[in-house]
């Protein structure tokens, strides 16, 4: 009876050692998976930054009067399709460029011109650009994101050259890169 109890006691001890070993293993591999996951996320963040830089420096979208790049050409943005840009920049992203419309520029104009200026400005507010409505629009969207996609977003201010009225306007570009989750 006593020796049976000792055997049981011993087996319990062995089981506990095995459990401790398994827990140690789980912790080590759990940490490993965590590290891999965080590396992937870091990679996606780098990719979103790269995408932003590529957009800004792309000659396919920039106005070529500005040698250093960083100025989008509104007419190129209007005709560029998602497929074209995926060929140039890769897949798994979405982008939106919005020109910020500043009504205060109209207030400086003579009274007879002010109303037309405001009317024109409001006509293009929050309108996605197409070949039909160009240049009366101020938003360009590329590669629509699917609902439920997990993305990393980045936004920075940019310049947009409005070809038809030869002006430089301020806008914001937002890019999102899928995190794969």
């Amino acid at each position: 009876m006593k020796s049976q109890a000792s055997v049981t006691e011993y087996l319990v001890l062995v089981m506990m050692i095995v459990i401790i070993v398994l827990i140690a293993m789980l912790l080590i591999f759990g940490f490993q998976f965590f590290t891999v996951g965080s590396e992937q996320l870091k990679g996606r963040e780098r990719m979103s930054l790269f995408l932003l830089e590529s957009f800004i420096s792309s000659t396919a979208l920039n106005n070529l009067q500005y040698q250093k790049g960083s100025v989008f050409d509104d007419s190129k943005l209007t005709v560029a399709s998602c497929e074209d840009l995926e060929t140039l920049l890769g897949k798994g992203w979405f982008a939106e460029i919005m020109v910020l419309l500043d009504e205060s520029v109209c207030y400086d104009q003579p009274a007879w011109k002010k109303n037309k200026c405001l009317r024109d400005l409001r006509k293009q507010a929050s309108i996605v650009c197409t070949k039909q409505n160009y240049p009366f629009c101020n938003i360009w969207r590329f590669c629509e994101q699917n609902k439920g996609d997990r993305m990393i977003y980045r936004s920075i201010p940019v310049n947009v050259y409005r070809k038809m009225n030869n002006t430089l306007e301020l806008g914001v570009i937002t890019v999102g890169v899928q995190t794969g989750g």
Binding site: M25, E39, E53, T59, V79, D84, K163, M164
Partner: protein
């Protein structure tokens, strides 16, 4: 007297000890291998990141190197190593090697279209030239190639058994002096990270081809290297970049460059074509009704209609659009280089007229 239980306990102790030790050894072995592989992959990712930065910013960069790798092969766009394979995010023409890797961006600029790539060479790389027919045209070709290759490399001539190198500045000034030396085929043993470039119009120059040795034939505009079966594999070249890419990675690199270049050219030509049509249409509307949206009327030759309503079918947007259409149609055939030059000159005309 030892009881049965004590024997059982001793045996179980030994078994459990062996099990635990084996288990931990295997785990630590796996863990170490995974960690090493992870850190190598991280190194490849870092290389990709430095290449991306160089590509987008245009600033030269240095990568500390791939010291711990046992195997490292570059088959563009993939880096294959003992840690696995990784596809680079930007066009990189890379000569794998130990030690520091220098990266520099180079671009082809056609006005409306600019294509850039990154050269990545081990810092101590050398390029030796053997111009068998040492003519002015050959020297101009060498000048064009070297001017566009990274400044961190050493350049030189190989004449028979004599091989000398210098830094880029010294080499270019020596080349400009145009010393009229007659060159013999190179017979020297090539050092590590050295490429030998023989320039000759002779067609039987393949007999002494060795590893890391390429031949440029300016008369046929072909670049050649030795293939795996010992024969000669050639490709046509169109500009200095084709030759420079061939020097870094031979046939595979040049095929990759041409594929990426044509793909991006097709996409950019598509955008530029549609954009030029859109702009010329709007300019036409603008010039008919100037107060529509244009604060500055465009010069008459840009559009198809002038203020008096006269059609300008030969407006230079029209010419540029026609040349873009021809280019787009020719890209798939691969025979588009003259048309590309044509679009570049038409675009330049648009700029000179104030339309762009």
């Amino acid at each position: 007297m030892i009881s049965v239980f004590q024997i059982f306990r001793a045996l179980m102790g030994v078994i459990v000890f062996i099990f635990v030790i084996t288990f931990f050894l295997r785990i630590s072995d796996m863990y170490t291998a995974t960690q090493i592989k992870g850190s190598k992959m991280e190194m490849v990712n870092a290389f990709d990141y430095v290449a991306m930065q160089t590509y987008t910013s245009g600033n030269p960069a240095t990568f500390p190197g791939f010291g711990d790798f046992e195997t490292l092969v570059y088959e563009p766009p993939k880096i294959k190593s003992d840690a696995g394979q990784h596809t680079l995010s930007v066009p990189v023409f890379f000569v794998p090697g130990r030690g520091e890797i220098s990266m520099e961006r180079r671009c082809l600029d056609f006005g409306w279209f600019k294509w850039c790539m990154v050269f990545a060479f081990p810092a101590k790389s050398k390029i030796l030239f053997t111009p068998i027919e040492n003519t002015n045209a050959t020297r101009d070709l060498i000048l064009e190639i070297v001017e566009n290759l990274p400044g961190s490399l050493e350049y030189g001539f190989c004449n028979g058994a004599d091989a000398r190198t210098a830094n880029k500045g010294e080499f270019l000034s020596y080349l400009a002096s145009g010393a009229g030396v007659t060159y013999q085929p190179c017979e020297t043993q090539l050092p590590e990270y050295c490429r030998l470039v023989t320039i000759t119009a002779s067609t039987d120059s393949s007999s002494n081809l060795t590893e890391n040795h390429i031949i440029i034939n300016p008369s046929t505009r072909l670049v050649s290297e030795e293939n795996s079966s010992g024969g000669l594999e050639s490709r046509p070249y169109h500009d200095w970049m084709d030759i420079a890419v061939f020097i870094t990675g031979g046939v595979k690199a040049l095929d990759y460059k041409k594929a990426v270049f044509s793909r991006e050219l097709a996409a950019s030509a598509g955008i530029m074509h549609e954009r030029s049509v859109l702009v010329s249409q709007r300019i036409k509307e603008c010039n008919i009704q100037p107060c529509l949206e244009c604060s500055t009327p465009f010069p008459t030759p840009c559009g198809w209609t002038d203020y008096s309503g006269r059609e300008h079918e030969s407006g230079i947007y029209h010419d540029f659009i026609s040349s873009l259409v021809s280019l787009k149609n020719a890209i798939s055939s691969g025979n588009y280089h003259q048309l590309l030059e044509d679009t570049a000159s038409k675009y330049n005309e648009l700029k000179n007229q104030g339309c762009e």
